[in-house]
Symmetry: C2
């Protein structure tokens, strides 16, 4: 048995088993039973060392994050996560690293009830690609293209925490001791809003997850839906950690242009807006209305209350 | 628009469009309509520079091969290819390279009627991961685990040609001029046996594709099925190019231990063996019976006619 086959053992011998998996790891491919009258949703995310993470990052956190960022895409489409595939490329076999990475991956897959059903393990510069699959009742997937003029714009949770966590790791920003655990958790162990995403199937007109920052991500909804947006930045939800650690300008920069929050951004027609808080309260994450969809295609207007809010966007980009 | 978004254009603006794709490239994920009463089959293959290909390999051929090797896994399971995802990691953006790679990928995807429905494009050391999806009538997928004692063992096409092509490229083996085109084509432009794989759904008891060489690949069927095999190497089909270019020992080495043929290896119960040639003749590729499944679990017995065939396996491995 080669060293790479040994490594593959870490990913085949354990983990969630689903009854709708006819054939999992170990054949030319997996065989999956997609429920009748359901659509399949497929997402892909690659994390490359030096681009998305540091060589000495905690491998358990990386395993978690790889699953969470993929499942977050499924959540944004209202899908129920079901299966994961992993393409793992490693320069050398460091068994301690692989063991911790696999543990993080499996515990997060288990949490979201996803089964790892295959993939490929090869030698090369470190690169982690995950393909997540989920299911959604036929025709019910949420997309970026359904926003209509007059719809209300919402986000889940609080924005900017993960970007502050990255700055804390890099020694570029200080955070008081009492907030450090929370902020680092938000960066290393993001949550995918899976239950809430499914609850939005019959409510939201469009949805996506926030991976690159609100300012740049919302443009995708505007482009795909052919609409504009007016956002009141004073209504963007901020954590106590950000409020205590940053001046207003910095907080806005983190919330608008910081990436990796993995909160949901979605739009709701006026007719479905009533009692939204009540409807969504079982899902354990706050939702905040931050603006409305306008008819000026492609235009994002930022306000602070009634004032215009001049803003210099500095893109969050993995390519520096 | 960043350079990587420009590159993404090469993969989103053209290619096959399928009517069962509800949402393709451009959202958080793709939304796919798997036919009712069909199973989904998913395969993953990664090609890393320096491990699976050379930096100066023709990018059009790489685009072809990435699709073909994934579709070959689907063929081995009796599936109809439907969708592809691409995770493309590149160190720099060389537009000529990307353009040629995309052309090879699209023309091969078109040939197999597969739609590229998403993926991820990132900066990093060159790595190509493809995830192929296909569909198969529920419960009809061919696997490695169904071979039974007494079943006949078959392969499609001829074996060893791709390995000879690799040796020709590396200057390690000479091939006469009249055979060079054929041998290089077999290495750079492998064919996936898609139609034949689907025809085997109600015939074969097990199946897989040959990517690492018959000697090592057949062990997967033996392990998963809990059986042994007796193979008559004199019956392994060889191309005229191999016969003209190699002595018998070399030909056997290439056919048994050379990789990347992407022919199918399958087993057929005696009751379904009659008229197999006639049944499979419309699919344009010869099938050859090379042996039988035995009851000695895990044991591969090689013969040359009635003689024992002593053989020193030198594994074809991408890891050297």
């Amino acid at each position: 048995m080669g060293e790479f086959e040994l490594i593959a053992q870490y990913f085949s011998k354990c983990g969630t088993a689903r009854s709708d998996t006819a054939v999992g790891v170990g054949d030319d491919g997996a065989v999956l039973q997609v429920r009748d009258n359901y659509d399949l949703v497929v997402t892909t995310d690659t994390m490359v060392v030096g681009t998305h993470f540091f060589p000495d990052d905690d491998p358990r956190a990386l395993g978690h994050k790889l699953v969470a960022v993929n499942v977050s895409d499924l959540a944004a489409m209202g899908a129920e996560p079901t299966w994961l595939s992993l393409a793992l490329t490693l320069p050398v076999v460091d068994e301690a690293w692989v063991s911790a990475f696999a543990a993080g991956l499996h515990e997060t897959a288990e949490y979201y009830n996803c089964q790892l059903i295959g993939g490929d393990t090869t030698r090369g510069p470190m690169s982690l690609t995950m393909i997540a699959k989920g299911i959604v009742p036929r025709g019910k997937a949420l997309t970026r293209s359904g926003a209509k003029v007059g719809d209300y714009i919402y986000v889940t949770g609080t924005l900017g925490d993960a970007a502050l966590g990255l700055q804390l790791c890099q020694g570029r920003h200080d955070v008081s001791k009492k907030h450090q655990t929370h902020i680092l958790q938000r960066f290393h162990y993001p949550s995918a809003r899976v239950a809430l995403g499914q609850a939005l199937r019959n409510i939201a007109s469009s949805a996506m997850d926030l991976s690159d920052g609100l300012y740049s991500d919302i443009q995708h909804i505007l482009a795909r839906s052919g609409v504009g947006a007016s956002v009141d930045v004073a209504r963007i939800p901020l954590s106590q950690a950000i409020k205590d650690s940053c001046d207003t300008a910095t907080a806005m920069q983190l919330a608008l242009s910081g990436g990796e929050d993995y909160e949901l951004l979605f739009t709701v027609p006026e007719a479905k807006r009533g009692s939204l808080d009540v409807l969504l309260s079982p899902y354990g994450v706050a939702v905040s209305c931050i603006g409305r969809i306008t008819g000026v295609a492609g235009k994002l207007e930022l306000k602070y209350g009634e004032q215009a809010f001049p803003y210099q966007h500095t893109g969050f980009t993995h390519f520096g």
